[in-house]
Symmetry: D2
Subunit: 144 residues, 4 copies
């Protein structure tokens, strides 16, 4: 496991909210992070679909860690902003958030994310598309 | 309590995810909804601040219900998209998400949201700013 | 030329602003529209790069027409919202805005756009990434 | 006139695209910039309304200069990203883009913008709402 991958895994382990959701890191590579979340009935909005805030949480974390995976070792990542389109009702047996890099810069990294709903029959459908901005923070005491 | 307010409260009660977070409806008026969330240590990201996904969840719900409060009685509200800027670390004893209307249209309602972090000393700071789009859905079997 | 392609071309011809910019439709297919703009020194911001508003104009138009190309014949397209990230200085001999479909729905179409800067040596670089929302409007007197 | 105001005016004068549009700086104060644009028939989209790209241009410039007005003297401003909602058809005798500060930070400044359409009878209507991110760039040879 590379140093970057270890840093991502160590940081993810500190995200108590990911544990509350039951989300797991299922893919870490340079510039690529996937987070997988099994459906649970306490994660829904009023129509019984996954709450958009849950999608936001796993997509933002996947994108942030995709960005962190390319940053210098002493860096922390901050979410500056993100924008999400909900493409379809988030209905599935599990959800996979994929964070990818659009462009990695010294200070600013632009990220793209999607949340894929996977059915019991392994059919899959993209339900959320995200475009966001991450920032590299160095030497400020944040220990990613 | 007005019919619109009752509809918002009934719908909120079905959002199991709001209960998991410990979030409560604390203000409902035409075009205005506030959701309040006490801090809990299982809602954090890696630096110990409220996870951006939690902010997204309460801000999106507050904005969606602000939009719903102005819709015809047989309508449901769908989040089309939203964009959030994280202004400062989300650190506080509680958080208040305020959803407000920028423009209410027949099909599309544009909403503005903010998340305010409130300290133990009642000091407050806006930590998230949101601009989003909600859609009115009628006669489709979604019962908000 | 298909009906949809003809509708896109006829509507583009009415966009006086595209003519002021010197922009041309260079690709029209179902769900795909490209607009090409030669660089001109009166299209710049203070550092001599293409103004972000010019990128926005060609990317929004390309995405709107990509959406229109999939809509019923009596429809008009409205831009609901878009979000753009500027990835690099927009410096080039010409710029190509590519509008593509993320998901086409009955009322809402989600679009993705990019602006590619092309150098004198035909090198190319993506300088803008866009994620936006278009709406189908029918029977309201808007013609295209 | 303050130094900051002079810097904004000097930089605006270099934006050739603002001259092509016929846009003028009509208000500059710390954290506040307005740009005014008289309607012209060559600035329209296919339905005869102001093109969203023109709104984007004046709103982005107003927001960028609002941010620059609070930055150290040796800084340049870069647009990282912005998101715009179109609230109503941009129809008017003139348009005023207002750029304001949501939060000014050392590196990142979050901005809010709006475009107001003003009629011949001085009636006014907000037609665009913008939320965006600007970055302070120092000592890199960008001058303003």
């Amino acid at each position: 496991m590379s140093d970057a991958s270890e840093r991502v895994r160590a940081s993810f382990a500190k995200q108590a909210f990911m544990q509350l959701l039951g989300a797991e890191l299922t893919h870490v590579a340079p510039g690529e992070v996937d987070i997988t979340l099994p459906f649970r009935s306490d994660l829904v909005q009023q129509h019984g679909f996954l709450h958009a805030g849950v999608s936001a949480a796993i997509a933002d974390s996947a994108c942030g860690y995709a960005a962190l995976s390319l940053m210098p070792a002493d860096s922390a990542v901050l979410s500056v902003e993100f924008k999400m389109n909900m493409l379809a009702p988030a209905k599935g047996a599990k959800f996979v958030a994929r964070g990818r890099i659009v462009r990695a810069g010294k200070t600013i990294t632009v990220v793209r994310g999607e949340v894929v709903a996977v059915g019991d029959d392994e059919s899959s459908k993209v339900v959320v598309e995200l475009l966001g901005t991450m920032m590299t923070v160095r030497g400020k005491g944040l220990t990613d």
